[in-house]
Symmetry: C2
Amino acid sequence: MNIALAQINPVLGDFEYNLEEITQKVLEASKKGAELVIFSELATFGYMPSDLLERPDIVEKQILVIKKAIKKFPKDIAVLFGAVMPHQDLKERYYNSAVFVYESEIKSIFFKELLPNYDVFDEKRFFKKGELKENILNFRKKKFLISICEDLWFDESGVYENNPMDGIKEDLDYIINLSASPFTKNKLKTRKKILKNIALTQSATSIYVNQVGAQDELIFDGGSFAFDSKGKEVSQLSLFKTDLKMLDEKKEKISKDEYENIFNALVLGLRDYFKKTGFKKALLGLSGGIDSGLVLMLAKEALGAENVTGYALPGPYSSKLSMDLAKEISKNLGTHLEIFDVNPTYDVFLKSFDEKFGDQDFGLMHENLQARLRALTLMALSNKNGSLLLATSNKSELCVGYSTLYGDQCGALMPIGDLLKTEVFKLCEWYNRFKGSEVIPVEMIKRPPTAELRPNQKDEDSLPPYEELDQTVDKLITKKGRAKTDQEKWVLKRSFQSEFKRWQAAPILKISEHAFGRGRRMPLAHKTVIY
Amino acid sequence: MNIALAQINPVLGDFEYNLEEITQKVLEASKKGAELVIFSELATFGYMPSDLLERPDIVEKQILVIKKAIKKFPKDIAVLFGAVMPHQDLKERYYNSAVFVYESEIKSIFFKELLPNYDVFDEKRFFKKGELKENILNFRKKKFLISICEDLWFDESGVYENNPMDGIKEDLDYIINLSASPFTKNKLKTRKKILKNIALTQSATSIYVNQVGAQDELIFDGGSFAFDSKGKEVSQLSLFKTDLKMLDEKKEKISKDEYENIFNALVLGLRDYFKKTGFKKALLGLSGGIDSGLVLMLAKEALGAENVTGYALPGPYSSKLSMDLAKEISKNLGTHLEIFDVNPTYDVFLKSFDEKFGDQDFGLMHENLQARLRALTLMALSNKNGSLLLATSNKSELCVGYSTLYGDQCGALMPIGDLLKTEVFKLCEWYNRFKGSEVIPVEMIKRPPTAELRPNQKDEDSLPPYEELDQTVDKLITKKGRAKTDQEKWVLKRSFQSEFKRWQAAPILKISEHAFGRGRRMPLAHKTVIY
């Protein structure tokens, strides 16, 4: 059968836009001779809807737009797309559904069975479960099983008691999976393992269609694909871009380079956050360090150099090297650079503070003060120019609370908040290789990390070496492992003690299995459990 | 049967402490001649555990502490308490359980069936469901049904397909409900309606034991009670305090005054947040307005006047009246007052900013700058003194974004973030009546609300009158209703547009059915849906 895979970038809640995107892809598929075109999970609504589903009439509104749009579909093409469909009895309970349209009419609707309710996923909050074994579609003498995302992830998730695939007794020709699967490192491999395995065990063609585009903290990477009944990969759509391909069309080449994929994911995450919230311009503080250097580069790639301004904000302990590096990277990337001295404000504040409260020994207060004066300056510039501030904290810092709340943590988005410090370095090195040029100054990568908030400060004065710290963060946070050594226990304790900072952090673009952000729900007031 | 109801204030994850509290109450009940003593839901662990349940071995650790503690229970008293018990097969899946101990041994374990997974509740994230109809306990020739919290809330929640009570065919003597039910206005009435109704329909004594104490945003109000089989209230424990009473003991008098209960809830919320995070002292900015006045009063009541400092931070548009009122309320409450002028810092910052970026017309930037300079000052004082900053935003402001991110939104806790502005006024008036004195200056209640960030500014210049705004906020946010009028649509739009501010807000003490905070999960990047 001539089947097309269609990968769109929906805007959450923008039903007109999403149905227009779907319609354009249906017409394109039709021109290519498709008999069936398949879209991703909740393509009409956008994933993930969260509490938008609590707004009254929102699902009914979506259905009206769907019903109007499908009238424009050519009558001779079948269309399968994800949508939110209401529960027959319960108010504000829905099914995560796949809608089958043919001859410009809804012919059948299929319901998702396995509803992920862990990490970032809250599907049991609104969705009722269907039964996968009911999801058999007969079309043009072929038998299709229609599954939605998690339905095929029984083995990977490990949290369900029964595998819905066990109920499938039919002799299938096609196994379809409509998905909205967020990017994480190496996730594509896992998806392919599952779909290849199922193609082989069921002797059926397996087709996986994923959402593309970012939604707040989540980046959907697309990369839809298919396997034939012999387990041979027969289709591959683009990563990080909308796409449409016939099942037998020439495959897109997919990079195996982990850092290339992380780069593209973060650029998409940034770009879509700006586009979907209606902003064009970004600003950030440039410390001359590697974190803000990386964010500057990502912002330039996502928004264009003309839309990005870096601010060097020298304070009492800023070095000439830092200023030189801020200048150099701005020049290399073609982004604007402005320099604003926070010393006059710092001095006058401290003077009036000491007059009032007595002379203070230099301490944490003074360090935080510098970070907060910079944030205050950047927010003033954000207000002045209508630009969004980008926060530059990384996952290693966030874990141990090595960042200032209302200081360098400030921003509309935290693009590298799920990158370990060692990944920050590697991504910068990858970028320079990719560009064939030292766009990110080597000195910036080589110099020992420093916050420059007191004389001769180095991160490693207060933290373990990043190589060690990052292994620990990966083990304790990303992989949720045990703390055994004293150093691991120290890191775990710091992570609990700094939870209050992350409660108030900006959205973090998620690229790992488990990120700080909305998918991690740690309490603040509790007995710190160190093991 | 001689039954005791025991209401403890557990600390999340502090198993030793919680089991010690339980043991003390068991001994006390034993002395009073109790044959059975009943504790609240997850009394051993604390509610709600959230992602602490992802820490390895944490449940096993809890079980070790339980097993050790029950050995110390007197052998002739039966004890029923809530605990987290592991699923037999699945890793990191648990049952929300009630453990029955007799003769210093665990005799049986009962599992919760209805797992709330809406608003602040995420119980399907970790818990598997049991079956209520299995939860029959036979003890001393009496038949008990052991239910846990939501198990009896089928009608109220309205999101479940089947009522587990329908499966109960036994002739019951007692229906027990172990609960961890957060305070909301009038919630006690609802609880009693349910338990009275079930006592009558089952002709059994119904016993409800609730957690007391606060955990981050949630305040558990206790107020455990019982009805006899004729629907007569036979027991009532204290609100907002630990307690133990025999079933037939003299009932605690419960206030019907909504504002008295809100007051006690917020005081408990504040006190427990400090106690459970290990802090003693609070500070806040005193604007001379009613919001900071109310928070000052609550902090004084929760922490003692000696632990609370208010800072008046006059800026370019602060009035003499504001300063006078800040002084007056501090004097009335006996809290420390300090005055610190932010003008020198404001002036020097603006001077250097204008020199660099050109003269700026007065605008939003300047308003935010004042709020942020105050926050920076308060955070410096927080660092200096080891005090926690309290944020003073209310629900009406938060809804329409009438607060400054990284400005007056700053704080470790937002005690009145779930109070409408009109409720702020009423709570202050109640307090003055309660004290029989104008502790909160009448002028503070009477004066038109103003942020004093520009000359002659009044809140009602940019917002609808609070009487109207609050009705709309209650309708759209708390009750999740439709926006019909132009004003309602304007408020809804503002609420979506300011979601980014609330993403980074401090924890908000929840007192309404639906609060801003972790129980509301609205996306940031979406098409604003205005209906």
